[in-house]
Symmetry: C2
Subunit: 193 residues, 2 copies
């Protein structure tokens, strides 16, 4: 078991892989970054889940292609490659959990492709706000952070948030967004699904 503080970079593109990572507490954010600095969040790894970047590394002996950062303080367990293979062979529970995680992540990525390739910024931003808010009625995030969340640019987010605010869907202050008009936001988010 290993404790890492918020903000720790767990892996970067081209890093070699140490072992298979299981998250016990906290969340890991996995992102892709282009040379021009634009960034997009691929997915998050939550407690009880396994990190599939490491899966790709271990199975095909490739390196990471994405970057992973501890979004909160995390407790991680790192399973060495040999132990990983033994578990896959002999532990049906481990294997089932692994497969489930792989399939779920796979579906996530397909949804992401659909989102990025086929839907508008307004829809994607609405979905991102709802996702980040969870059951709460507000989100703490900078426009910059929201832009990376949906793979867009800060200015675009600022303008879209202004539109939402004008329509009464949200109320924006520095680093904080209140979801007034949640129902209408949800309607917007589902338009193209």
């Amino acid at each position: 078991m290993m404790q890492v503080p918020q903000g720790t970079v767990l892996f970067r593109p081209e890093d070699a892989c140490q072992g298979f990572v299981v998250v016990h507490s906290g969340t890991i954010k996995v992102t892709l970054t282009a040379e021009n600095g634009r960034e997009i969040v691929l997915y998050r790894v939550r407690p009880g889940e396994v990190c599939l970047q490491t899966f790709g590394c271990l199975v095909n002996r490739t390196t990471y292609s994405a970057e992973g950062v501890a979004e909160t303080d995390c407790a991680l367990e790192v399973v060495p490659a040999g132990e990983f293979e033994r578990l896959v062979e002999n532990d049906p529970v481990f294997r089932t959990r692994l497969f489930g995680a792989v399939a779920a992540r796979f579906a996530d990525l397909e949804r992401l492709v659909e989102d990025v390739a086929l839907s508008s910024v307004a829809e994607r931003l609405a979905r991102a706000l709802l996702r980040l808010a969870g059951s709460a009625d507000a989100v703490d995030a900078t426009h910059e952070a929201l832009a990376s969340e949906i793979g867009s640019a800060r200015e675009v987010i600022s303008r879209q948030l202004a539109v939402f605010a004008r329509e009464g869907l949200i109320a924006v202050t520095r680093g904080h967004i209140e979801l007034t008009g949640r129902a209408r936001l949800e309607a917007l988010a589902h338009l193209a699904e």
Copy 2:
């Protein structure tokens, strides 16, 4: 073993899953389509590979989210769910092959997200042309097909092809594109990787 002719729709979004599909010959094209008709190619399944849409179905008992079409005549093997589970448990060779396919497809999807979210149409189109041409020096495809290949629109492709042609990178005729200036096309394709 099952023979299907080119153009057969093997699965659609929301279909229930019959079993695990292994491709013996031919290729399957897996795509996502939005309500507005825009489409993007997620990946292709080639001989010896396994179809991971079915994987997600079998593991998490979910339905398909993408559409699969036989791009050529295909010979397929369909492994029923029970048999699939038995193979995963007991056949190390099968398991290894499955894992490799999963990891590779996973990496593909990450690349696709990066491509769609972070690079320009010119780059993506250049990459698509090179990918489709393989070792040949020409591609048979309509502008419409190329658009769905990179998740863009036909008009955008027409215009970009015209630009490439004007610069001498390609020669365009109805349904056919000659890759003259391949080297410069490759340079373009790698600019943002």
